[in-house]
Symmetry: C2
Subunit: 325 residues, 2 copies
DNA sequence: TTGTAAGCGTTATCAG
DNA sequence: CTGATAACGCTTACAA
């Protein structure tokens, strides 16, 4: 496999000239450039990018850390980041962690080991402090509000969105409100829980632990909620559901049991996925596609040196009214 | 940032010894090993993997080429490959192409440039011949039957699955059968079309171009089919739908219009996605998760040198009977 | 506009 | 068990 040296010898120039041609540098006589190019073609030259990476200290790779690949929420974020990466000629390295801390730390180590130029964290189990320890090695951006940190954040205000949704329900006469979450100990769940308590206090309703439905991640979980609801001696009249797919599962199961939505149970989703649109689901659009692309742009700006300090950017959300409330 | 040389000097050993420690080689006196390890910790040593990649000629990266990230079909395949990659300590590089040939060729070039050790192609627009041109540079596997090639294939027999589904419908009294596809010019569509014509001939039904519904990729496309069907002077009594999400959109739209399924329109899906299960969709399980993980394993076996010749492996499919027929 | 030579940070080889 | 030293293939001062 030919290298730059052989090309140089055969073309009768120096390796630097070959390198200049390779990198589209100016100051190469057209005649020599042509000769180099011809020799490359003749020898089927292929650049060894690892050598380039070694000398330049860059890999054009960014890791995207996420717990599950096969989930609509992460797919949308990935899509957003992926489009930007494509445009910037960067590559996304898929790092599925399943929320295992050791796997997450491995990804962070990749940054230290210069295997990647930056990291986009879609969701993780490690603490912000653990992440900060890796900030000296390259830009990191998180898709949630981690507060004032050494790394960047791009997020929507979950507490605010949650409050907005609750008030929307309250304005329409609901007082018995419950909600579903994916993981009880996630940062966004904590934000929602706080908002939940606050709003309940505002309207003088008691806080009921049993109306916080945990472990709702997918379609099937949404369908399963219905069973849990049926078992309750007192049921909420409205549900805030994290994830339109969970809401879709719930709606479908409700239909099966002849529970009419919104009359017997009002539902507000999150994420604004196509399935929600199809089902007439009232939902919070949290701009996942934009968030993914913004996340990439932030990391990219840091890599390019256009930016030095961490960014902390809030994206506006939007409540989309349809017919499930 | 400390390197192997500094570690060696500070620990009072040679670089080779440090390298041996790094790679868990035997033949290092325990005392020296400890000293090296301690020095590394002290200097916060981080290995520069690019140097390792350069000298070893391996990157531990495999590209996964696909047109769209945000699609359930590809998500499942990715998930399968991702799990195996995780287990093998390999990384997946996400290469979204949008079926643009130049982007696809860029991915193939990455193999030539030694940026990756292999490629998993989930779906592509380039020809098998174009792919074969890159086989000298590393293992490539395609998730469809490309025939006897220099690269590997892992696939289900689409024609057979299609025939099976058609006969299932015919056995239940259907003769007016249509089908939907994503792209008209894809290899699996061609296989389906051939099977379609054959079976129609078998039962003496005419071939109707207008019952082949093109451009059906997502939920919304499924819903849109209903409009197309309504415009027809004569409608099929059964539809083979490529992709459970498309089928789900169709079913939902049918429900809206009070068209009963399966009485007025029978539907068979493909992919066996959760949404299909929820909707009681009869479908073909084409083992996407297994296909993804098998794809990774094949490439991996080649990289490890456990295998030399290309693999061509067919996965069995299964018709899952539910209530949409 | 071009060439020489010094790295980049490892691992591999080979002699001890 | 250990250490010199030569690759790996490229970019980039610096000098011409």
């Amino acid at each position: 496999m030919a290298n730059i040296k052989e090309i140089a010898k055969l073309a009768g120039v120096s390796v630097s000239t070959v390198s200049r041609v390779l990198n589209n540098h100016p100051y190469v006589r057209e005649e020599k450039r042509a000769r180099v190019l011809a020799t490359m073609k003749q020898l089927k030259y292929a650049r060894n990018m690892n050598a380039v990476h070694l000398i330049t200290g860059r890999t054009m790779n960014i890791a995207i850390m996420l717990p599950f690949i096969n989930h609509a929420y992460f797919s949308l974020l990935m899509e957003g980041a992926g489009q930007e990466a494509l445009a910037a000629s960067y590559r996304l390295i898929l790092c599925q962690t399943g929320y295992a801390q050791d796997k997450e730390l491995e990804v962070l180590e990749m940054l230290r080991n210069r295997e990647i130029d930056g990291i986009i964290i879609l969701s993780s189990a490690v603490t912000p402090e653990q992440i900060e320890a890796y900030c000296p090695y390259g830009p990191i951006v998180c898709c949630l509000d981690a507060g004032e940190r050494l790394f960047s954040s791009i997020y929507i205000n979950h507490a605010e969105a949650f409050r907005r949704a609750m008030h929307y329900l309250i304005d329409r006469g609901h007082r018995r409100i419950g909600f579903t979450v994916g993981r009880l100990d996630s940062p966004s769940t904590r934000a929602r829980k706080t908002a939940y308590e606050e709003v309940l206090k505002e309207i003088g309703e008691p806080y009921r632990e049993e109306w916080i439905l945990d472990g709702c991640i997918d379609l099937e979980d949404g369908a399963a909620i219905m069973n849990r609801l049926m078992d309750m001696r007192e049921r909420p009249s409205a549900l805030l559901v994290t994830g339109d797919h969970v809401a879709a599962g719930l709606i479908y199961e409700a239909e099966k049991r002849d529970i009419s939505i919104p009359q017997e149970l009002a539902v507000i989703g999150f994420d604004n996925q196509p399935i929600g649109k199809m089902l007439g689901l009232t939902t919070i659009d949290n701009r996942l596609l934009d968030m993914g692309s913004e996340a990439f742009k932030i990391v990219y700006a840091h890599i390019q040196g256009e930016r030095k300090d961490p960014v902390r950017k809030e994206l506006p959300f939007e409540l989309i009214e349809r017919s499930s409330v």
